[in-house]
């Protein structure tokens, strides 16, 4: 088993996942079996996947294989290179934690039958892995579409709620529009040769125009899946609607498949790189990041908050990719590798901490039945495990040292600081603005995350029933603990991750950073040179911990004052209650005020003389009103017109068919000539 080729190992895992899904069908309503046996087995699959990926990244080889599946004469071409392997690693490590959590999470009698969930869940995992293996457009599209479909079914697991059905529909719609663009992109890439294998696309020399067309199509198609502005609207609807492990999988892993796709097309399949592609990615990525984080800060529902935070992170990933493309187009490959490394590091880091945060919301949801931030609070007293694990997640998500989010942000900022070497003065001037936007995004992410953690876990419970909340179960704890552990590890040992990323950037831009980065010892991250910049997370952690411990010990040794408990100071008010804390709306109020032009706000303020004052504010996306509603109305208008064709009389329909036949027969001879 262990000396199998990596690609075979991966295929075995995919096969095992599919088999587990089918077994789920057989045990449709046997909840205990599905939850306690099938899901943990699936988790082991994730671990094997990660193992295979690491082994391939270590060997630096490329495995290929042909599977004669599907249509005759059209086999699946499969290929496992470093880029695929890295994303397989992401799937593997994240899905291990998520599957274990799911084993404890799904409850009997909720929405879809457990066996069906098991089928959809494991098919979803398998199709994501297959997307990464695909080496021709046919296999890619099959895997891509089944990924979209299975995730659609997972989103609508609670399909009895109309709101969830609507969210699922929106998701499916945008996913398909994106898929069409991807298909067209492959059509351009094969350059009329009729051969849809990626190997053929690699050798085509496209003209600037067609290469740009392919890039824009890929950007649109994969951007729709990732949630780039203005195609992001499905994300804050679909992620909260799905059950938490599924949200974790979608937010943590699935949207990264879009990143993979865009990397594959731009850096692998296309040879030409034009500077404005990078600018497009950079500008749209930054806009998306700032937009996402501002919206995250004003959300009042915990999963929506995290969904918007995912949009922010996707924006950062696109920014890094754009910068890499920009460097690449000017032949500055070392810098391109630096930006790409930042991108890939963040892919892995975000997959872990965002999954972790979504899983904690799942535990909170189960313990309290509430997803509205305004009705939560004080949960650190009742669910300490979940709270402390969530703390790790929010610290990483805020980009704070020594956690994983900081490393990727640090690498990204480093690559921006190198930029003044670009030959175009205009681009050089954009850089300070871009750098500052990234800094602003990171700081705002901190705001949103403090809001999330503070309102959910700190303070006093805002509702009576919260005091009955219970901590997560064993499976859930292990799942979240695994993700938290990796998040910490990723923050502390950046060089070992850089060794995994090294073959990927070597494959894409020809330069790897692992060697210079660890030239000054494995504990010190020096992407270019020691003088230029260095970051030693272990030192860092050691410094903070040592300071904390010494302070603690000294205070305890020198002073013997005791500790008393009493009621908090209420500012002289005779009574105080938990409703006097900031609500989620209140916490977001400064952001709402400062960034007012961003929001579409529906506000109702009470008058001072109201006896029963009522306050409500609903913040919505301007894009929805501005872009989507007009399109929807236009579509409705056109379909109404088209609908007139539908008469209901059979003879009319037959007439349509007849006319069509005549037209085609008329056209055939012209086509011959």
């Amino acid at each position: 088993m262990l000396n199998m080729r990596a690609i075979d190992l991966v295929l075995w895992v995919i096969g095992a996942w599919i088999a587990l899904g089918l077994l789920g069908i057989l045990a449709l309503h046997r909840f205990a079996l599905v939850a306690r046996v099938f899901f943990p087995l699936g988790a082991i699959g994730g671990l094997v996947l990660a193992f295979a990926a690491i082994r391939l990244l270590g060997s630096g080889m490329v495995d290929t294989k042909q599977l004669s599946l599907g249509l005759p004469q059209l086999p699946f071409h499969l290929r496992l290179d470093a880029l695929s392997a890295f994303f397989l690693l992401v799937i593997g490590v994240a899905s291990f934690g998520i599957s274990l959590f799911a084993a404890g999470y799904f409850r009997a009698g909720e929405g879809t039958a457990p066996g069906l969930l098991c089928l959809e869940f494991h098919f979803f995992l398998a199709s994501m892995a297959l997307v990464l293996l695909a080496d021709d457009a046919y296999a890619f599209m099959v895997a891509w579409e089944s990924m979209a479909l299975t995730s659609y079914f997972l989103v609508t697991a609670n399909h009895r709620l109309p709101k969830i059905r609507a969210a699922g529909f929106l998701y499916l719609l945008i996913a398909h529009i994106g898929a069409i663009a991807i298909l067209l992109c492959f059509g351009v890439l094969q350059a009329n040769t009729g051969d849809y294998t990626f190997a053929n696309m690699r050798v085509q020399n496209l003209s600037t125009f067609w290469a740009s067309a392919a890039f824009l199509l890929a950007f649109f198609g994969f951007g729709a899946k990732a949630g780039i502005l203005p195609l992001h609207v499905w994300l804050p609807e679909a992620h909260p609607a799905a059950p938490s492990p599924v949200s974790a999988l979608m937010s943590g892993v699935m949207i990264k498949m879009a990143i993979y796709g865009l990397l594959r097309v731009t850096f692998d399949l296309l040879h030409l790189h034009i500077w404005w592609w990078g600018v497009v990615l950079l500008v749209l990525g930054l806009t998306t990041a700032i937009f996402g984080v501002i919206f995250a800060a004003v959300q009042v529902e915990m999963k929506r908050l995290l969904a918007y935070s995912s949009i922010e992170n996707i924006g950062l990933l696109f920014t890094a990719m754009g910068l890499a493309l920009l460097f690449r187009s000017y032949g500055m490959n070392t810098l391109a590798a630096l930006a790409l490394t930042a991108c890939l590091y963040h892919v892995l880091g975000h997959a872990l901490f965002k999954s972790l945060l979504f899983l904690t919301t799942g535990s909170v949801l189960h313990a309290t039945g509430e997803r509205n931030l305004g009705r939560l609070g004080g949960l650190i007293r009742f669910m300490p495990w979940v709270a402390w694990l969530a703390l790790i997640g929010i610290l990483a998500s805020s980009g704070l040292p020594p956690f994983s989010g900081f490393v990727s942000e640090w690498l990204l900022l480093q690559s921006f600081l190198f930029t003044p070497g670009l030959p175009q003065p205009f681009l050089n001037m954009l850089i300070p603005i871009a750098t500052a936007s990234i800094a602003l995004t990171a700081a705002l992410a901190g705001y949103a995350m403090v809001k999330f953690f503070g309102v959910v876990f700190l303070g006093q419970p805002r509702e009576e029933k919260l005091s009955e909340a219970h901590d997560a179960g064993v499976f859930e704890k292990i799942g979240m603990g695994w993700l938290a552990l990796l998040t910490i590890g990723l923050g502390l040992a950046p060089n070992s991750i850089l060794h995994l990323i090294d073959p990927v950037t070597r494959g894409l831009v020809g330069v790897g950073l692992a060697h210079p980065a660890s030239a000054n010892g494995w504990w010190l991250l020096t992407p270019t040179s020691m003088v230029r910049a260095s970051y030693g997370p272990l030192y860092f952690l050691f410094g903070v911990v040592a300071a904390v411990v010494i302070a603690f010990v000294l205070v305890r040794l020198l002073y013997h004052a005791r500790l008393r408990r009493s009621a908090p100071w209420g500012g002289g008010h005779p009574w105080r209650n938990s409703r006097m804390q900031d609500t989620a709306e209140g916490y977001g109020q400064p952001i709402r005020q400062i960034f007012e032009p961003f929001f579409h706000m529906d506000r109702h303020l009470p008058r001072p003389d109201d006896n029963e004052p009522e306050y409500h504010v609903v913040v919505t996306d301007k894009f929805w009103e501005g872009i989507y509603m007009p399109i929807a109305r236009a579509t409705e208008y056109i379909s109404a017109k088209v609908g007139k064709l539908q008469q209901g009389r059979i003879s009319i329909y037959l007439l349509y068919s007849f006319v069509t036949l005549i037209v085609i027969l008329l056209l055939v001879p012209t086509a011959r000539r």
Binding site: G377, A436, G446, A551, A567
Partner: protein, 313 residues
């Protein structure tokens, strides 16, 4: 040996001198408003008193509340350890560069805000919200200031920046004009100084920092206060390192320390006087003018980076 010694000195100096700097600023403020003032040693007496007192903790406080003062104190201490105060020969500075320094400040801020929200009173959450409001603009502003400097030194490592400005051939950097202005604004906001916050009052309408540590008492409060003075010290020495670096030694030899220490004391005293003057002459801003104030700092930082690239200097 010299390196470890220099590192030790640069940790001990802030711990010991930070309360003195705070006392000096307070004393100057008192003199400027025609009061006699409590003397420059008052913060030490205060810390001593607080450490000896019993700590009274709200019955709703969780373990995070007790942990936070240590975390805040530890981060501030590390922040001081990586800023070149007396010499640029700091082993710990390779662990954390300018970006990580900002991260450290942010880490402390997040812990103090979370601790403030932990009790669940209106004051705590109010303070936390305002602190994060100040933070989300001050943090990127500080980063842009540091980037303006690091573009000059071609490095984000603080010792390298200092050496580039202080020890290479003398040059005037126009971008530092902008960065300096931005830094002063950030300095005032981050250390809860007058135009943004007033450390001397407990008025609900205006307080930020005091609202957050309202529930702390005894040794926890002492750590928080000490951490605040360490933060003031860190910002002052950072300002010195970026804008007035002359006198900071390269190696931690006794002779260079002898030269560096008085120059550091002189510069800190000067900063204290300027700070007290600014605080005396300016009026407290309304809380909704604060974002504007900080946005100005942020944009000045951006313009600083721009001028560097544009003027090529």
């Amino acid at each position: 040996m010299s390196r470890a010694f220099s590192q030790l000195i640069s940790i001990l100096t802030p711990i010991l001198l930070a309360p003195l700097l705070l006392g000096w600023v307070n004393q100057m403020r008192a003199w400027l408003s025609n009061r006699r003032g409590p003397g420059v040693l008052q913060p030490y007496r205060m810390l001593h008193k607080l450490f000896n007192k019993d700590s009274v903790m709200a019955d709703t406080a969780s373990s995070l509340f007790r942990f936070a003062p240590y975390a805040v104190f530890g981060s501030m201490l590390l922040a001081n350890a990586i800023i070149p105060t007396l010499s640029t020969d700091l082993p710990l500075a390779s662990a954390a560069d300018a970006i990580a320094l900002v991260g450290l400040f942010a880490l402390a801020r997040i812990f103090i805000s979370l601790a403030a929200m932990d009790i669940g009173t209106a004051f705590g959450t109010l303070g936390a919200r305002r602190e994060m409001l100040v933070g989300f603009l001050a943090e990127p502003a500080l980063l842009t200031v540091l980037f303006s400097a690091s573009l000059i030194g071609q490095s984000t490592a603080l010792p390298t920046i200092v050496e580039a400005v202080a020890h290479k051939h003398f040059a005037i950097y126009p971008s530092l004009v902008f960065a300096g202005m931005a830094f002063i604004l950030v300095f005032l906001a981050e250390n809860a100084r007058v135009p943004v916050d007033n450390p001397a009052t407990h008025l609900e309408l205006t307080m930020i920092h005091e609202a957050m540590i309202l529930e702390y008492s005894g040794r926890h409060l002492a750590l928080m206060e000490w951490a605040a003075s360490l933060k003031l010290f860190a910002y002052s020495t950072l300002g010195i390192a970026l804008f007035l670096p002359w006198g900071i030694g390269q190696k931690a030899t006794p002779s260079s320390l002898l030269l560096a220490l008085p120059s550091l004391a002189l510069k800190l005293a000067l900063i204290g006087i300027v700070l007290a003057l600014v605080e005396t002459f300016s009026a407290k801003l309304r809380i909704f003018r604060v974002p504007e104030f900080l946005a100005t700092a942020f944009l000045l930082g951006v313009i600083g980076m721009l001028t560097h690239i544009l003027l090529g200097a």
